[in-house]
């Protein structure tokens, strides 16, 4: 569902951060994206999200050439992708509940139609009693879980998670990973960017995409 061919990217006039990246993410697959800090993991995820354009190469998403899409088509693709940002990106003036419900709200759904579902998911990630709190008051781990819930609420076909366990203790990290594996079993392709080796070891069978020196090495 994602295919990169010889993709290269540089920010401005700098050096190439990603060089000749070629890979594919298959439907219903599970993979870790790893590599040292600054290797370009977040950058690679942003390319998939179409929030960055590559300086060269081809990207196709869900079978379509992603670099020649109009805005409506981009919106359409993004609705099939759930994202967990490394820096959360919650809306500070909305409560946790409203933040998690946001993807449904922008799709024009009535609040009554998703209330139960959002509440249940919030309980599941352990935020049942934090629903009406604004993000600035949440702890780092709580924000992280809120962002994960926001990404999952629409049952995306593809989930991109950037350091989803960077701010939580190991036991919560395990629970969150289970959330991702459950999602994977229900048919979602999952990409988790992390340099947490312990986390990766918990899911031994997973494919690993390793970034280093701008190049991507794949270990199936």
């Amino acid at each position: 569902m994602v295919r990169f061919e010889n993709v290269g990217l540089r920010y401005g006039m700098g050096t190439e951060i990603l060089k000749d990246i070629s890979f594919a993410i298959e439907p219903q697959s599970f993979q870790f994206l790893t590599g040292p800090s600054g290797a370009g993991k977040t950058t690679l995820l942003r390319l998939i999200l179409l929030s960055l354009r590559p300086t060269r190469g081809l990207i196709s998403l869900f079978g379509r050439d992603a670099l020649s899409l109009d805005k409506a088509a981009i919106t359409d693709l993004r609705r099939r992708i759930g994202v967990v940002f490394q820096d959360f990106r919650l809306l500070d003036h909305l409560t946790t509940y409203e933040n998690v419900a946001l993807p449904l709200r922008v799709r024009g759904k009535e609040e009554a139609s998703y209330r139960a579902e959002v509440t249940e998911l919030l309980r599941w990630v352990g935020l049942g009693d934090r629903m009406h709190i604004l993000p600035p008051v949440l702890s780092g781990g709580e924000k992280q879980r809120a962002v994960i819930a926001r990404a999952l609420i629409v049952r995306p076909a593809l989930l991109l998670a950037d350091e989803p366990t960077g701010n939580v203790d190991p036991s919560l990290a395990r629970r969150l990973l289970r959330l991702f594996t459950e999602l994977h079993k229900s048919g979602t392709s999952v990409v988790i960017a992390t340099h947490d080796l312990a986390l990766m070891d918990q899911f031994d069978g997973a494919r690993r995409l390793v970034l280093g020196d701008g190049r991507l090495h794949i270990f199936d």
């Binding site: 999200l49 929030s51 354009r53 805005k71 409506a72 919106t75 993004r78 609705r79 994202v83 940002f85 990106r89 809306l91 003036h93 909305l94 409560t95 509940y97 409203e98 419900a101 946001l102 993807p103 709200r105 922008v106 799709r107 024009g108 009535e110 609040e111 009554a112 209330r115 959002v118 509440t119 629903m131 009406h132 926001r150 629409v154």
Partner: protein
């Protein structure tokens, strides 16, 4: 039924009415604090006020001038200057008679000597014997609205029968009055247009500012799958409400001003000098048109505010890559 519920839902959303005991507070996605809201409301209120005054003044002058023109156009005056060797009483009676026989004339009323003197009294004072002065006589001729009077024919007939008689059809007055009224109305229209342009610019600036302040929010909305149209609607909703508030305040102030003006003018009209103003300006009455126009302006201002901000946001998002 379903369509109705949907439309009502949209109305509630615009007005910010909360539906049901939801958990979400229907909190606006564009935070109120990120918009220079109070400044914008103030600007919109002032602009609405000025636009309403301009429109109201134009309607007032237009109404007054057409009422006055009507009145003047329904009358003509025959003047008979005293001529040596002629009986002015007989001449004015004859002139009235001739006028009344002319098609298009409803009635002709000759002022008697006493009445003519009474007319001059304000200028010459009372108790003066005017019998020695060559005071001209006036005959007012009222016209029927149905048949048009041939003024030239009547003028010729009068001149032939009575030396010293002249017919004034008030045309010069009418023309001047019309030109003056048109100038005032055109001026009001120009002011109205300028005020509107200034308001649109103010809304545009405020929208640009709000967008710059909300770049992060717009980005997040894009990531979670919001379409450009959805995002621009959020801005439109916010700005429509601000415009509505500003428009209501401005229109309220304008209505109060006009009410005060008509109250003052009705007090003033009760005084003797007011009666002369009354004669000049006809009934200086505020027609309901003025109030209807003001309310219309306020509604248009709110819609325009929402529309302008939506268009700007939409264009901005389209150019974003």
């Amino acid at each position: 039924m379903n369509m109705f519920a949907e439309a009502w839902g949209r109305v509630k959303a615009i007005l910010g009415v909360k539906s049901g005991p939801g958990i979400g507070r229907d909190q606006a996605l564009v935070p109120a604090s990120s918009i220079a809201g109070r400044a914008l409301v103030t600007v919109v209120a002032i602009m609405t006020f000025l636009a309403s005054l301009a429109a109201g003044a134009a309607i007032l002058i237009g109404d007054a001038s057409s009422a006055w023109q009507d009145q003047v156009a329904r009358e003509m005056t025959i003047q008979i200057r005293p001529t040596a060797g002629r009986d002015i009483e007989a001449d004015s009676a004859k002139a009235a008679q001739l006028a009344e026989k002319t098609p298009g004339v409803a009635a002709a009323r000759a002022y008697t000597k006493d009445q003519s003197e009474a007319l001059l009294q304000p200028w010459l004072g009372a108790g003066l014997d005017l019998s020695e002065l060559p005071v001209p006589r006036l005959i007012t001729v009222s016209l029927t609205p149905k048949t048009r009077l041939d003024a030239t024919a009547l003028r010729r007939t009068l001149a032939a029968a009575i030396p010293g008689a002249s017919l004034d059809d008030h045309r010069l007055w009418l023309e001047r009055l019309a030109v003056m009224a048109r100038t005032v109305v055109a001026g009001a229209a120009v002011i109205f247009a300028l005020v509107l342009v200034a308001m649109v610019l103010a809304v545009a600036f405020a929208t640009r500012g709000a967008m710059a302040g909300n770049r992060e929010i717009i980005e997040i909305l894009h990531y979670v799958g919001a379409a450009d149209a959805y995002i621009s609607r959020q801005f439109q909703r916010r700005f429509f409400r601000l415009g509505l508030r500003g428009g209501a305040i401005g229109a309220g102030a304008a209505i109060i001003s006009f009410l005060a003006l008509s109250t003052v003018s009705s007090w003033w009209r009760a005084t003797p000098s007011g009666e002369q103003v009354d004669v000049m300006f006809g009934d200086f009455n505020l027609s309901p048109n003025v109030y209807a126009a003001i309310i219309l302006i306020a509604a248009a201002v709110a819609i325009l505010t929402g529309y302008v901000s939506r268009t700007i946001v939409f264009r901005h998002l389209r150019d974003l890559t």
